[in-house]
């Protein structure tokens, strides 16, 4: 039996009637035609399907669309303001942070949130003392890699992805 779901994606609200089995990933791509979010593994192992819900980065392939009632989803299509790229998009271009581009939307959304998490000072698995507050000026490459470890890249653009994240960390003022 279908489920009525009101879903806000970027700046548009959609009234959907969905099969409960429909994942958010398939809802975005097939129902709404927003194909920027990619299906890599479809089992929560690669991060290509990363979107932002309620300000948090999550995997859309393991999220049921029906469970997103009333939530705000941001996809890669929602980052730019008209023709003006988001600083993270600009950084990925400037640092050449991709080859085939398939993982790239997930990388960019994940990186946007990773920067916010650094500004919030929260620790990661490689932070020596979880009591300490990290900051963007002193964050190591090891920290960036750990915080981005949920996004795989088979083209191995990792060094340039790290550079793009660092560019935004150093240039973007704290929100």
């Amino acid at each position: 039996m279908g489920v009525r779901t009101t879903l806000r994606v970027n700046d548009t609200t959609h009234e959907l009637f969905v099969d409960p089995r429909l994942t958010l990933l398939d809802a975005l791509r097939d129902t709404l035609g927003l194909t920027g979010t990619k299906k890599g593994c479809d089992q929560g192992a690669c991060g290509a399907c990363t979107v932002i819900i309620g300000g948090q980065r999550v995997l859309s392939c393991l999220t049921l669309a029906a469970a997103c009632e009333g939530q705000h989803v941001v996809t890669i299509e929602g980052l730019a303001t008209g023709d003006e790229l988001h600083p993270m998009q600009a950084a990925f271009l400037h640092c050449d942070g991709f080859q085939c581009g398939y993982c790239t939307p997930g990388q960019i959304l994940s990186a946007v949130c990773a920067v916010q998490e650094v500004h919030a000072g929260v620790p990661s698995h490689v932070t020596p003392d979880v009591r300490h507050t990290v900051n963007s000026a002193t964050l190591t490459d090891e920290e960036i890699r750990e915080r981005m470890s949920g996004n795989l890249c088979r083209c191995a653009a990792y060094p340039n992805i790290v550079a793009a994240v660092r560019q935004v960390l150093l240039n973007e003022p704290r929100s």
Binding site: D19, Q43, A120, H125
Partner: protein
């Protein structure tokens, strides 16, 4: 994926009642276990009840304990300043697991209820006593490099994969639940998970339809000197080959008391109580820690591909305690 009915309720007792009244119903929280296993037909509920609207998502801080709502996400718990300050082992354990995306989705109760990653459990064409009682265990004579050496039986050697649970085990958390009739009860963490024994399909001390509402983690001043150490093939985004959660209460270089939890090597989140007790009053040296590690792994039973875990776990125990000893608290 098999078709199912999707439901949500406003009150926890109503959600519990809905599941209890419907055979083949399951609760949905973050979806990182349930949706994953439904996609490969390991779990096939007829009804899925979404628990996130129930509002079980607060963290209350008191002097004597903290209370953590069942739907608090792994990230929220790990990043909470009181958790980082009072229970660093728990923050470290959570942060060692999965990825930020998964930790943002996965709830505390869901982490406690996660299922094994055994590839035979996850393959409906394989024999698995946990998934289908009496069907056999393909892991015992199969590819068992990641499987358990503690708490195993002739029927199941599946590893409990959680990092967070090893932290909760050493902190003596208490799981609080509500049942369909509205009654509440509490289950000490050490009693929540079952070893497989003769009934690998019985994993948890929950009644059908019983819903976890919150955890209570008692205050433990000694936990300021605590640490989680995880050993795995990759640097990130992988389950443990072996892990150790330690709490070390020191008086100079003498151990007043210690706690030891083990992950990646056991069929449930493991508490090595005999090893802990052996440390009381001893000098906090690596040799002492090694003696405790020998006790902790004394009952280990290895299979063809996982014998290395026994020595690996012993070294992880020594390193974890040594790190805790050196910590500046």
């Amino acid at each position: 994926m098999k078709e199912f009915t999707f439901e949500r309720f406003a009150r926890a007792a109503d959600a519990a009642g809905a599941v209890a009244a419907r055979p083949g119903a399951m609760f949905l929280a973050g979806g990182t276990t349930l949706v994953d296993l439904m996609k490969i037909d390991v779990l096939t509920p007829d009804t899925v009840v979404d628990v996130r609207p129930l509002g079980l998502s607060g963290i209350d801080v008191w002097d004597h304990a903290i209370s953590v709502g069942a739907a608090v996400t792994n990230s929220q718990l790990a990043w909470h300043p009181v958790v980082r300050d009072r229970y660093p082992v728990l923050a470290e354990a959570i942060l060692a697991g999965a990825t930020t995306q998964i930790r943002n989705m996965a709830t505390v109760a869901g982490n406690i209820l996660q299922r094994t990653r055994c590839s035979y459990f996850r393959d409906v064409h394989a024999s698995c006593n946990r998934r289908q009682p009496g069907s056999g265990c393909d892991a015992i004579d199969g590819f068992n490099r990641g499987h358990a050496v503690l708490g195993v039986s002739e029927h199941c050697i599946a590893t409990h994969p959680s990092d967070m649970c090893v932290g909760l085990a050493v902190l003596d958390a208490v799981v609080h639940t509500v049942r369909a009739d509205g009654s509440a009860r509490s289950i000490p963490f050490g009693e929540f998970h079952h070893v497989p024994g003769d009934t690998p399909h019985v994993e948890f001390a929950l009644e059908y339809g019983e819903l976890i509402t919150h955890l209570v983690i008692p205050n433990l001043p000694a936990a300021r000197r605590s640490h989680y150490l995880k050993v795995r093939d990759r640097a990130s985004y992988e389950f443990a080959l072996a892990s150790a959660a330690v709490v070390l209460d020191l008086d100079g270089d003498t151990i007043r008391a210690a706690r030891l939890g083990l992950g990646g090597i056991a069929t449930k989140p493991w508490r090595a109580t005999e090893a802990e007790q052996s440390l009381t009053g001893r000098k906090a040296s690596d040799a002492t820690f090694r003696d405790a590690a020998e006790i902790a792994l004394a009952g280990a039973v290895a299979r063809e591909h996982n014998h290395f875990k026994i020595e690996l776990a012993k070294r992880a125990i020594v390193r974890a305690f040594a790190n805790a000893r050196e910590a500046k608290v």
